[in-house]
């Protein structure tokens, strides 16, 4: 038994159980939560270098599961998100008047499917297996997005489909060319020839669509903003991270040796644009959830802005850690923010930022959760977001890169601008609107996530150590990795 298997198998088992259980499906989280959190903890404390082949079938054919730094950071964060979201969704997706409803029934199996899919994605090194996992996640994500707006869901679906196929095309090329789709083997075998580069290109492009990097983000804001709050939280926090993790595996593990700096700069540049564009759009929004969704567009930019910084760093371990910490804290904070936003909007029965007036008095805990999440997202200390941004800025300055440094700084400021706007409205007015009390669990869920995002700010060293576990050579040592030679 190993947590590597169980982290995938358990959610799938819970999915089956939820599907069969019908009305009672939501109760399963009481079992799934502790189990998954325990498994995540187990994963974190595994000795370094733990990896195994599924069914003991050797590599060119088989599938390698591995507990590397990426998994050790993202799996627990994902679990935390899922647990919190599930607790939050407890009431929202419950049988109405004792009868099952389509949403209440289907939400729970999809939640577990997504959970299992993302865990599987974090743990595997097999590119084809990753294709299956992104489809697992996308499927559930599309359905959840469609719960809010069918049009947005369909848009998301079709675009994600194109992205998946582009990725699959790359996998096909690689599989034919190298007779393997395992990232660790490809790292050894890959040569910078046309098929390989073409494969990298199409896979990257496909994944960028799924990750919604500017200017491929068009599908994201409508879908994320329209979905029910728990779904939005999962979509923004978890779903897009999987595509990003695969990109990390491609660019820094499988093809670290053959990707040239110009390509890194291209991604970095797009990241920078995403930060600026997303932030500006977020500033312009009048609806709260759209604002948060555009914030996701902007925040994703940071993940890509880091690419050239990692590639050129003296000590790539730090920006590498930064990018992972950013992914984790964005995950926690964004989930918290969507959940809190859901509570707030429900309380005022509106969707505009201006509807939030006086909520800081009426529902202080939810506003606090939103504020804490905002702090992390804007990269203000102490928070995981700050730690990440700090390390990135440090790397950018160390390398004398003015543009990324400037973008990091400006992005942080713009972030504060759009995130504090709803808060400011919430603090406004002197009368507290009458608000029906929410169930404690629903209030606690975003608060817990946001607190975690803040708490990450105090655990910088631990996070950096974790992120370097079984890290690919390109990002491991202080030795200069020369991409592209």
């Amino acid at each position: 038994m190993s947590p590597l298997d169980l982290l995938v198998a358990a959610p799938l088992a819970f999915m089956v159980a939820a599907l069969v259980a019908g009305q009672g499906g939501r109760w399963l989280i009481l079992a799934a939560g502790p189990v998954m959190l325990a498994l995540s903890a187990w994963l974190v404390v595994l000795p370094p270098g733990v990896a195994h082949l599924v069914g003991d079938w050797d590599l060119p054919l088989g599938i390698l599961l591995r507990a590397d730094g990426v998994a050790r950071l993202l799996v627990p964060a994902t679990s935390a998100c899922f647990v919190a979201v599930a607790l939050y969704a407890w009431h929202e997706f419950s049988p109405k008047a004792g009868a099952e409803t389509a949403r209440a029934h289907t939400f729970w199996p999809m939640l577990y499917l997504m959970w299992g899919g993302s865990n599987a994605g974090y743990l595997t090194t097999d590119l084809f297996n990753l294709y299956v996992t992104i489809e697992m996640v996308s499927l559930a994500a599309v359905a959840m997005a469609a719960m809010g707006s069918l049009a947005a869901g369909l848009q998301y679906f079709l675009i994600a489909l194109v992205g998946s196929l582009a990725y699959l095309l790359g996998v096909a090329l690689l599989a034919s060319h190298y007779d393997t789709v395992d990232a660790t083997l490809l790292a050894v075998r890959a040569r910078p020839d046309l098929p390989t580069l073409m494969a990298i290109t199409v896979m990257t492009a496909g994944l960028l669509v799924k990750t919604a990097l500017f200017p491929l983000h068009g599908w994201l804001p409508p879908a994320h903003a329209a979905a029910p709050a728990p779904a939005s939280a999962l979509l923004s926090a978890v779903v897009i991270k999987l595509g990003f993790v695969i990109l990390l595996r491609l660019w820094f593990e499988a093809f670290a040796e053959i990707i040239r700096p110009a390509a890194m700069d291209l991604l970095g540049g797009m990241g920078a644009l995403a930060i600026l564009y997303g932030s500006v759009q977020a500033i312009r929004q009048e609806r709260l959830k759209l604002l948060v969704a555009y914030s996701t567009v902007a925040q994703l930019g940071y993940l890509f802005l880091a690419f050239p910084l990692i590639a050129n760093a003296q000590n790539p371990a730090e920006p590498w850690a930064a990018v992972l910490v950013h992914a984790v804290s964005h995950m926690l904070a964004k989930a918290a923010m969507f959940l809190a936003a859901g509570l707030m909007l429900k309380a005022v029965a509106g969707d505009r930022i201006s509807d939030l007036a006086g909520l800081a008095r009426a529902m202080p805990l939810s506003v606090t959760a939103f504020a804490l999440a905002a702090i992390s997202l804007a990269g203000l200390p102490p928070s995981g977001g700050f730690t990440a941004k700090f390390l990135l800025l440090h790397a950018a300055i160390e390398q004398g890169r003015v543009v990324p440094a400037a973008v990091l700084v400006i992005g942080g400021l713009l972030g504060a601008v759009y995130l504090f706007r709803p808060l400011s409205v919430a603090f406004s007015g002197s009368a507290a609107p009458a608000v029906r009390a929410e169930a404690p669990l629903r209030v606690a869920a975003p608060l817990a996530l946001a607190s975690l995002a803040i708490a990450l700010g105090f655990a910088g060293m631990t996070l950096i150590e974790l992120s370097s576990v079984a890290a690919p050579p390109a990002v491991a040592g202080p030795v200069q990795a020369e991409p592209g030679r």
Partner: protein, 564 residues
């Protein structure tokens, strides 16, 4: 003197402050006015008994300051204390029906402490603190009756006082720095005499002290402020408080080293004040204003002398005692005159004649009638004044006499039914008048080193009398012809200044408004255009087909980047 009298100096300063604190207690405050005469008592004792030139250190207070009683200081301290005692007695009676006795007592005591402190401060920081106390805290005394005129006067007073304070602060900083960081007045003065010392220090000091002492173009506050205060307060203002400025000049100016430029300017301004003050005083309708201008004139005399001495490099030993003596005499006389002005309405019938007689005597003394204390003081001060100065001083007797005659002319009539004046009002007048006429004579030997009136010759007698006689003729002539003086507003230049300031301010505000309006107008609508464009871009990238196209373009870019 025995050493155990040393604490008298701090006590002299602290005791009024303690009394001031008592004034803050709501129940006691109004009654504290009765204790006013007690406040200067320790100072009076100190002036007589405290050991001379022995620094009483005050560790921990301010910047480790100290107090010292010098010879000059003792004259000033004693004179001031005496004046304050008398004025205190007078005030205790005069303000019996006042609506704000507690406030008056409070600030009276605070100003007293500051005034006395100035005379005994040993370091510049303490000096500055006391000087600020006496300057700024006198403001409430000036505006005590809250009449609009008083308030205007107070404003003029406070504005100039603050400017003076600031100038002094700057001067002290510079001086202390150039004295090697020492804070002791003695060191600072020595430093000022050194060749490398910047002249700015002197100018700033002349500015700062000059304001306080009513140096000519800076005197504008004085003729409005002194009359505005209640009578006893006017008395101390004119008699003691202006002396703080004189004392400052005495203490800090580096006598003995010729400083031609500053000295000459000071002398010119001082002597200009001597005459202009008196002439302006002639044009005043109010008795107190006349007295105030007289003060301007008299102080101009002292400062003119100081300036002349400074320019000539006369040693301090020759200047200080004479000036101190003159200041003492003037302080006591002017105090007495102010008090008598207040007393006049109480005096009916014969009492009034007695009062006029006392006032006339005092006036003549101030003008320098031979064989009076004033004449002695004048003769003493002519020494350091130099020949030119001495001539001017001689001439000034004319103007002084005229202005004081004017004072007698405008002495307020007795109130209906007034008879014997209250003892508590009359006694101080008498005591002060007595002191003013006697004390300089007593002290003259110590100052001049010779007996009073010893060297009186006919020539000198004539020299001292003819201006007075001329003045008498003029007055009699004017009375006979029924001439009236041209009436000028109090504070001559003040009105002009006030109007120009108001105009400048209005102009400035208008300019600011215009500027603000134009700033608002220049804000265009680029924000809206930006918003439109952003919305269009967003609509484009949301389209599926465009995403696919972008995807293709991106693939091309990526491939190109990878192939590079």
């Amino acid at each position: 003197m025995t050493a155990d009298l040393a604490p008298l100096l701090p006590l002299a300063v602290v005791w009024p402050l303690v009394l001031a604190l008592f004034c803050l207690v709501p129940a006691w405050g109004p009654r504290m006015i009765a204790l006013l005469p007690l406040a200067p008592v320790p100072a009076l004792c100190a002036a007589l008994l405290a050991p001379r030139d022995q620094i009483a250190r005050l560790p921990g207070i301010l910047l480790d300051g100290g107090l010292v009683l010098g010879d000059t200081g003792a004259v000033f301290l004693g004179g001031a204390a005496l004046l304050w005692v008398c004025a205190g007695i007078y005030a205790a009676r005069f303000l019996r029906t006042d609506p704000r006795p507690a406030g008056f007592a409070l600030f009276w005591n605070v100003v007293l402490a500051g005034n006395l402190g100035v005379f005994v401060a040993a370091d510049i920081v303490s000096f500055y603190v006391f000087f600020a106390l006496v300057s700024l805290m006198a403001y409430p005394l000036v505006i005590h009756d809250r009449k609009p005129a008083s308030l205007r006067a107070g404003t003029a007073y406070i504005v100039l006082a603050v400017i003076g304070e600031t100038a002094l602060l700057a001067a002290f900083m510079l001086a202390s720095y150039h004295a090697g960081g020492s804070l002791w007045i003695a060191d600072v003065r020595a430093g000022l005499g050194l060749p490398g010392s910047p002249s700015a220090i002197l100018w700033l000091m002349i500015l700062g002290f000059g304001i306080k002492a009513g140096l000519m173009p800076l005197h504008v506050w004085l003729p409005v402020a002194h009359p505005a205060a209640p009578v006893p307060a006017s008395a101390v203002l004119s008699g003691a408080i202006v002396k703080a400025g004189i004392f400052g000049l005495l203490v800090f100016l580096p006598f003995g080293v010729p400083v031609p430029l500053a000295g000459t300017v000071l002398a010119l301004l001082g002597f200009a004040g001597l005459f202009a003050g008196a002439l302006l005083g002639l044009a005043q309708p109010g008795g107190k204003a006349v007295l105030a201008y007289s003060t301007v004139s008299q102080m101009g005399l002292v400062m003119g002398v100081l300036g002349a001495a400074l320019a000539a490099g006369t040693p301090a030993a020759a200047v200080l005692p004479a000036a101190a003596l003159y200041a003492l005499g003037h302080g006591l006389s002017k105090g007495a005159l102010f008090l008598s002005y207040g007393l006049a309405p109480w005096c009916g019938r014969g009492w009034r004649r007695a009062l006029v007689a006392v006032a006339l005597l005092l006036a003549l003394s101030i003008a320098g009638l031979p064989f009076t204390a004033g004449a002695l003081a004048k003769s003493a001060i002519k020494g350091p004044a130099g020949p030119f100065g001495a001539t001017l001083i001689g001439l000034s007797a004319l103007t002084s006499a005229l202005v004081l005659a004017r004072f007698l002319a405008v002495l307020p009539p007795a109130r209906a039914g007034a008879g014997r004046p209250p003892l508590l009002l009359a006694l101080p007048v008498l005591a002060l008048a007595g002191a003013a006429l006697v004390l300089p004579v007593v002290l003259y030997p110590a100052v001049a080193g010779k007996a009073p009136f010893a060297a009186t010759t006919l020539a000198s007698l004539l020299e001292g009398t003819w201006p007075l006689a001329l003045a008498g003729l003029l007055v009699i002539g004017a009375l006979a012809l029924g001439l009236k003086p041209p009436l000028l507003p109090e504070g001559d230049l003040l009105d002009l200044m006030r109007r120009s300031v108001a105009a400048a301010r209005a102009g400035f505000e208008a300019a600011v408004r215009t500027g603000a309006v134009s700033m608002h107008d220049s804000q265009g609508r680029p924000a809206a255009v930006w918003g439109d464009n952003l919305a269009r871009i967003e609509a484009l990238v949301r389209d599926r087909a465009s995403i696919a196209v972008v995807l293709l373009v991106l693939m091309g870019a990526l491939l190109a980047a990878l192939l590079r």
